[in-house]
């Protein structure tokens, strides 16, 4: 590793706030693009199951 310890990796010679802000924002935005479509599919199955149940009860 280039850095001697964890706190040096966090600090990055004073640029830590910039670098880690980018990492954090990227992580949040990228994971949103996985969670949103997965959630949509899951909600679809839940709703359709309810619809099927309603239809079979009639």
């Amino acid at each position: 590793m280039f850095f001697n310890n964890f706190s040096e990796l966090m600090a990055m010679d004073g640029h830590g706030a910039y670098v880690w802000a980018v990492v954090l924002i990227s992580l949040l935005v990228l994971s949103s693009q996985i969670i949103i479509p997965l959630g949509r599919s899951r909600r679809f199955f839940v709703q359709q199951r309810m619809r099927l149940r309603r239809e079979s009860n009639q």
Binding site: F3, Y18, V22, I34
Partner: protein, 247 residues
């Protein structure tokens, strides 16, 4: 070849085959992004002028590259949906917009955060930065335009035309730093000559770029699959899937 093309147009076939690819592709994406990020952030040497702030490149450049590639995919899918009226192409076009907007957002924000310690400003209205902002608004425009129509067939056509017109922006983004005086530096990775970056720094960057491309593929598959389910909700095969999911 034509048979493959016809199969590709079948949502059911696409749903089944993409379900088989997804786990492997997701695994590959996670491995590439994790390797690239750890390598780039912790192991790559710092830059002789910028020090450690240059590490933002490991997110900025891949996001910028994929933001443009995603647009080309969206425009090509739009063209295919216009010419061949292929439903799947229209779905892919629609699904590119939220992913493209997110990744362009990462490119813009990481660029602004990188600009502060190196240039001395968050934002400057130079040709490169402004044209990427236009790209961001094009994605938002496609998203908004699609929602504005009640008739989804008309919405698809309008979005395809908008994404085709917006195509003109892509070469402008790419060559903006060479055609005009700008604050943004020219491209580091060149296709025709050697990259102006030390190999120790370039290798993790290439891993990250590959990771972002794979991420785009995974997100696109996930969005497309959920949209296919919704559109085909009254077909036999989707009903069978729903019934199976009960157990």
């Amino acid at each position: 070849m034509w048979q493959f093309f016809h199969k590709l147009g079948s949502p059911r076939w696409f749903y089944e085959i993409s379900g088989r690819w997804l786990p492997w592709l997701a695994l590959l994406t996670a491995a590439l992004l994790l390797t690239g990020a750890v390598w780039g952030l912790a192991y790559a040497p710092p830059d002789f002028k910028q020090g450690n702030s240059f590490r933002i490149i490991y997110f900025h450049v891949p996001a910028s590259a994929v933001s443009m590639a995603c647009y080309m995919v969206m425009a090509m899918a739009g063209a295919v949906s216009l010419i061949w009226r292929m439903k799947l192409a229209e779905v892919v076009m629609k699904c590119c917009a939220p992913i493209g907007a997110s990744i362009t957002f990462i490119a813009l924000v990481s660029g602004a955060i990188w600009g502060k310690p190196t240039w001395g400003t968050w934002w400057v209205w130079d040709a490169r930065i402004t044209s990427v902002l236009v790209l961001f608004f094009l994605y938002l425009g496609v998203l908004a335009l699609y929602e504005a129509f009640d008739n989804k067939e008309a919405a698809g056509k309008a979005c395809a035309v908008l994404s085709l017109v917006g195509c003109v922006n892509i070469p402008i983004i790419y060559w903006s730093v060479e055609w005009w005086y700008s604050l943004h530096q020219p491209a580091t990775i060149k296709f025709t000559e050697q990259s102006s970056m030390h190999p120790d720094m370039l290798q993790p960057l290439l891993v990250m770029i590959a990771g972002f491309y794979c991420f785009f593929a995974v997100a696109l598959l996930l969005y497309t699959r959920s949209e296919i389910l919704f559109r085909e909700r009254n077909t036999k095969w989707v009903r069978a899937l729903v019934e199976k999911s009960v157990g």
